[in-house]
Symmetry: C2
Amino acid sequence: MRIFLVLGHRAATGPDFSLNDLPGSAGRLDILCRCVNSSFFLSHDLRRDTELYLVLQDRVTVRFVGSGLRHLNPDERSTAALIQRALTAKGRLRGDEELESTPGIFVARRGLRKALEEIQSRVERLFLLHEEGPSLHEAELVPDIGFILSDHLEFSPWELELMRDLPRLSLGPKSLHADHCIIIAHNELDLRYDPEPC
Amino acid sequence: MRIFLVLGHRAATGPDFSLNDLPGSAGRLDILCRCVNSSFFLSHDLRRDTELYLVLQDRVTVRFVGSGLRHLNPDERSTAALIQRALTAKGRLRGDEELESTPGIFVARRGLRKALEEIQSRVERLFLLHEEGPSLHEAELVPDIGFILSDHLEFSPWELELMRDLPRLSLGPKSLHADHCIIIAHNELDLRYDPEPC
């Protein structure tokens, strides 16, 4: 089980955005769509052992569950359309319940704190991917693992305070986009825990 | 200098496609747009030492030059619009000349053979990224290096014949999308040749 959480600091929390303008009106939803791609796509297959939490403005969480996903395509636009459907379904939510908007995609009125609690109960170790941490490539990892990432904006002081106990890992000397970080983490885990060609 | 070449087997070679349907009418141009993203984007910066050749149906080559790129954004749609402008400019080409359609983006009526000749004259070593090769992570690499990749389709017998002398490298036990391979190759090169944080 691999879980990624990406913070979308300005991402739309409602469905009123244009699929033709994901970077603008949707608040850099393009980044989050690429994180969906990075989390799940293999060549002609999906990573069924992976989940992705997109936490939008600390108010809404859209959760992608690899084992249940259908109708997911690798391009940004069609992924954004699935997120838009989740944000439309959000209108039917009561309290902090979670609702499956399309197969394998869930939406809830939950923020970072709740998502962290949930992930920590489900993986053996949870890391913050951060430029200041030691190298992932040399770190002790485990197969049941989680990673927290941020979109184009830095982690806020409040977020860092909430996650002050999480160990940090970095990926290399360059500062990278979140979706690129997910690819590198997956590859490191593949090399360690899934050495046979599939 | 790092050079990537990606074969777009069915990608549009003319500008008559919809930006709203990159996977369909544009012949999986979405994949090639993500390869542009993977090749060049760092967080708040571009990889100026990188070039990317997109070879479309072995008839047209769109070349992205990191040192000259302007107006490049990470989302698929805006990148596809730049490729569309290159394919419109193609109409003004004579013979096999190359034309700069927007800053840092060049178009020519050239196929794989010509692109390979050009790349081989510019890098010290050129590799085919292929599932059957030995691991990139354990291979002897050089800073001036090139990699050939394919889109969602396998290399054709003709392409493999043309590149029969190129050494092969693989990236791990999973079969990955081309854009994901580029990320992993960049990371390995960053770790070896650019160990200082930038």
